[in-house]
């Protein structure tokens, strides 16, 4: 089983909080700008995700889903 993090780019505002709290450095702010003009967060090291949910718990826009596959 491995964990997977999913970021809803429509909701993400690129605040960077998830990036700062992920213990496994899974996330980073990307270059792509969404329809609101925000550079959203993206999983840059998706495989490193442990499913700890820190990112989701701290995301102010509830843009993150964490799953176990």
């Amino acid at each position: 089983m491995s964990a997977m993090v999913e970021i809803n780019a429509d909701l993400c505002k690129g605040c960077g909080i998830c990036v700062s709290v992920c213990p496994s450095r899974v996330l980073a702010l990307g270059q792509v700008v969404n329809s609101q003009g925000y550079a959203t967060a993206v999983p840059v090291l998706p495989m490193a995700c442990t499913g700890c949910r820190y990112c989701a718990v701290m995301c102010p826009d509830v843009a993150i889903r964490v799953m176990l596959t």
Partner: protein, 245 residues
């Protein structure tokens, strides 16, 4: 495939309009989650104050009344007295509850009104562009304390939970923070405890959240969390100030 974390039914589908990184969003979410977990979504009325927080009614998935600035505890009193079987809570900013709405808040506590109040303290008036609040720290620059808050002119930060915690009508009083995942979990426990206090008919419950306002603080969201830890944590008494016996 198992879901470890997903959006709660306690929130509507409407995206938050808050500024990037504003922790109002975290607080909304945990309230929504607790309401869902306690099976209260069909049995609850929320009351918003005015402020950025005033939009909570769009997002938290229960019946809502939008109160005037500062008057949510009075509105909640009206609802609760009309329908004692409902769970009633307010969601208010620090300007809303500690400045203009102080009397309504303290009197609701003194009356032992069986409602729950959530106070989101971001040390300023977010909605109107970052003016001084009663919670603004000494020396903090805001739009109406451009030279930094001076106690000689504007007095001292007011910590509402401390003020009311000795009132017999106040049954559960806590100050929590949303700066780390651990503290968010703690905050969520406080939310649950506050609702339970109400459901047990024990009296007034208040949870103060220390929260960020990156836009008006002029900091990035991540810097804001740091600023809150460095500057607000020492001033406001964090923890469960009062628990039902």
């Amino acid at each position: 495939m198992k879901t470890l974390f997903e959006r709660t039914q306690g929130l509507t589908d409407i995206p938050f309009h808050y500024c990037p990184g504003c922790t109002h969003g975290i607080i909304h979410r945990i309230i929504g989650e607790v309401l869902e977990e306690l099976h209260l979504l069909e049995n609850t009325v929320g009351v918003t104050g005015v402020g950025c927080a005033g939009f909570a009614e769009q997002y938290i998935n229960v019946d809502f009344q939008g109160s005037a600035h500062g008057r949510a505890p009075a509105v909640a009193t009206g609802i609760k007295r009309a329908h004692p079987e409902l769970v009633v809570f307010t969601y208010q900013g620090d300007g809303d509850m500690v400045s203009i709405g102080l009397a309504e808040a303290v009197h609701a506590a003194a009356r032992g009104e069986k409602i729950t109040a959530f106070l989101v303290n971001n040390a300023n008036y977010g909605m109107t562009g970052g003016q001084m609040a009663p919670t603004t720290l000494i020396g903090q620059k805001t739009a109406t304390s451009p030279y930094g808050r001076q106690s000689e002119q504007s007095g001292f930060p007011l910590d509402l939970p401390v003020l009311i915690s000795n009132l017999p009508g106040a049954a559960y009083v806590a100050t929590v923070t949303v700066d780390t995942p651990q503290n968010v979990f703690k905050a969520k426990r406080a939310v649950r405890q506050a609702f339970k206090t109400q459901m047990d008919g024990l009296g007034f419950s208040l949870v103060q959240f220390l929260s960020t306002c990156p836009t008006n603080w002029g900091l990035t969201p991540v810097e804001s969390i740091q600023w809150m830890q460095d500057n607000m944590f020492p001033v406001f008494r964090i923890g469960e100030l009062k628990q039902p016996q």
